[in-house]
């Protein structure tokens, strides 16, 4: 799964990027609606949001863009990520309806924890949109159980204590968390935040993760050539294929173990 802030640096590039990713082994596309205050995001994605907003990107244009991607033949499931104020401002029910109409399958709102997710879940259910819940190594046992029980689509496990952004290492607690979750639920587990390296992916998937989410790592690549980002699509495709291969390797190791 790959996370892209839509409109950074241009709408055209984002669409091309998503198609490239889908063609390079990415199973699920996470389309982020740029936010003025992306408090769960690190510097790379914060800058991505700023660029997209400066370029005039709006939530409506994002959703229209998703619809065009679907019309254009994109088949991978689409998860729409939006900080809650955009959803709240649109109206939760209307947002879900629009997202559904555009052809997305799920919604993530990174600043809506389980306790605040009731309205979102109810509205999503009405439209057949899964609201993806997040867990972290700091989520305590009782909550983890309740969240796992309520989760639909997949569970997004946050890999680190902190915000988005590629990191080199990977905390032990992340593997621990996957094991705890596996014992609780059959729902697929996607691991995100801080992922950019083959070994991380291998480790996570072999520990039981069903997939990983990369985001900042991709933005880092094209952000080096903001004047002509399309020239980085090759490299990004290579990166995505590498992650895909690492997933397969992790999977293989798991089966062996």
């Amino acid at each position: 799964m790959a996370h892209v802030y839509y409109g950074d640096p241009t709408e055209e590039f984002s669409a091309e990027l998503i198609r490239t990713l889908a063609g390079s082994g990415v199973d699920i596309v996470e389309v982020g609606i740029p936010s003025s205050d992306p408090t769960a995001d690190g510097p790379v994605f914060t800058a991505a949001c700023e660029r997209a907003l400066k370029g005039g990107m709006t939530p409506r244009r994002c959703i229209e863009g998703i619809a065009r991607l679907r019309e254009g033949g994109l088949e991978a499931p689409i998860v729409v990520t939006s900080y809650y104020n955009v959803i709240y401002s649109t109206g939760v029910g209307r947002f879900m309806a629009e997202v559904r109409k555009a052809g997305a399958q799920a919604v993530i709102s990174p600043d809506v924890p389980f306790e605040e997710s009731g309205e979102l879940i109810a509205a999503g259910r009405g439209e057949g949109i899964d609201v993806i819940l997040q867990v972290t190594p700091t989520t305590d046992g009782a909550r983890l159980g309740r969240i796992a029980g309520a989760a639909r689509g997949f569970i997004y496990t946050i890999n680190v204590e902190g915000v988005t952004g590629a990191r080199d290492g990977m905390p032990e607690s992340a593997l621990e968390l996957i094991k705890r979750l596996k014992a609780l639920t059959e729902t697929p587990i996607m691991v995100g935040f801080g992922i950019s390296r083959r070994e991380q992916v291998v480790g996570l998937v072999s520990a039981g993760a069903d997939g990983v989410v990369t985001g900042s790592a991709i933005a880092e690549i094209y952000a080096r050539r903001l004047d002509r980002p399309e020239e980085t699509l090759g490299a990004i495709s290579g990166f995505a294929k590498g992650i895909k291969a690492a997933c397969a390797e992790g999977n293989a190791q798991r089966k062996v173990a």
Partner: protein, 419 residues
């Protein structure tokens, strides 16, 4: 004393719809709700830190020992009780009796220390080693550094690059106190960006660091605990005005953006229906100007930094930063409690334009020898500009939230032609 906002304020007015909504956890929590406002809209990473904080507040705040240390520090270090000063000259000018609640005399120069000491004590009890926080005018940053130093906690202050440039004096004070000032260049480089950055930092270090939230904003339990620590202001006003006038005031006026000095002043009077409460926002140059911060006129409910509140935002739900001259009023959101109180009609929201604010500074300087903070001057501008809302016999308390030493340059530059 409990930890929920209802318990804290002890009033029906604030409890709002809470009772009804609390029933089903996981399906729209009512935790920390003031009417529809408030809540805890944060990434899962921070949930444990907030529940820990909520627990700690519930465990420590009501104890006699905590109260003794908290009130003791406010008294001996902070200088509480701050006076309630009958400003005779100003009263003569406006035509009714004006009392100033002198939070400018609190150590550090504003009401901010009440909250900083309270939260630093909590952090210490929670075993944290570090305070992280954000500041706009620098007043909160200074007070956090003070509280940190007394209690042996490191302090790190995130501050927008624009605010660093225009509040140089307070930046220097923080540096002298040994606090690390971290420039925030994201977004517009102002307060809201500094809050975002502090939340990001907290997500990474919440086990060892406490986020010392600077106003009655942010996710539950921050609005509740900041309001509790600040309500020492209103408690004192109540006792002092009864002593001086033998009755409650007719009105209380406070400036604000997040709302901490207003909530602090208002809380003990929420159930006193005869006490009119006025909240004054930054009007900027005019309501059309892009530096207008009148969120109760131009904003609508929205979610920022963990809470649903009255919010300056564009039609897409993107937050609009404001740019009044008063750095401390530039937060685009109004805290959940003040949002609720203004929506419910218990508090009347108003605003003052920059030109009125500078005039109020001048009048206060000349008539009372006091240089108010630009933030505070909004409340003064309100009584100067809305005399018709008050009767001749009225007793009006203005929460004089801070001194203007930090703003002297800005004020002089503005008044230059006139001086």
């Amino acid at each position: 004393m409990g930890t929920g906002p209802g318990a804290e304020t002890g009033t029906e007015a604030v409890r709002g719809e809470e009772g009804a909504a609390r029933a089903e956890p996981g399906v729209g929590s009512a935790k920390g709700r003031f009417g529809i406002f408030g809540g805890r809209y944060v990434s899962e990473t921070l949930v444990h830190a907030l529940t820990d904080l909520e627990d700690a507040f519930g465990r420590h705040y009501p104890t006699e020992e905590f109260q003794r240390i908290f009130r003791g520090l406010l008294r001996d270090y902070g200088g509480r009780p701050t006076p309630l000063y009958h400003a005779e000259n100003l009263s003569r000018i406006v035509g009714f009796k004006v009392y100033l609640k002198r939070e400018d005399l609190l150590c550090g120069g504003s009401h901010k220390l009440n909250n900083s000491i309270g939260q630093a004590l909590l952090a210490k009890r929670m075993g944290k080693r570090r305070l992280i926080t954000e500041t706009a005018a620098g007043q909160h940053g200074v007070s956090a550094a003070m509280a940190g130093n007394i209690l042996g906690l490191e302090t790190e202050v995130f501050m927008g690059v624009k605010d660093i440039a225009r509040q140089e004096g307070n930046v220097k004070r923080m540096r002298l106190l040994g606090a690390k000032v971290k420039p925030v260049a994201t977004g517009e480089g102002v307060l809201k960006d500094a809050v975002s950055e502090t939340l990001r930092e907290w997500a990474a270090c919440s086990r060892t660091a406490h986020y010392l939230m600077g106003s009655t904003v942010g996710p539950h339990p921050f609005p509740t605990i900041v309001g509790a620590f600040q309500s020492v202001i209103g408690e004192e006003i109540r006792a002092q005005i009864l002593e001086k006038e033998g009755r409650l005031p007719d009105a209380i006026v406070a400036c604000g953006s997040g709302g901490s000095n207003a909530i602090g002043a208002f809380r003990p009077f929420l159930d006193e229906r005869d006490v009119r409460l006025h909240f004054v926002e930054g009007g900027g140059e005019s309501l059309d100007a892009d530096n207008c911060a009148a969120a109760f006129v131009l904003g609508r409910p929205g979610v920022l930094h963990g809470a649903l509140m009255q919010l300056l935002q564009d039609e897409h739900g993107q937050v609009k930063p404001s740019r009044t001259r008063a750095a401390g009023l530039n937060y685009p959101g109004r805290g959940p409690e003040i949002s609720y109180l203004c929506h419910s009609g218990r508090v009347k929201a108003g605003y003052a334009f920059d030109s009125e604010v500078f005039e109020a500074v001048k009048v206060t300087c000349r008539s009372e020898g006091l240089i108010p903070a630009l933030e505070t001057a909004h409340a003064l501008a309100y009584i100067l500009g809305h005399r018709e809302e008050f009767d001749k016999g009225d007793v009006v308390v203005v929460n004089y939230s801070g001194r203007g030493d930090k703003d002297v340059e800005t004020i002089l530059r503005h008044l230059e032609g006139e001086i």
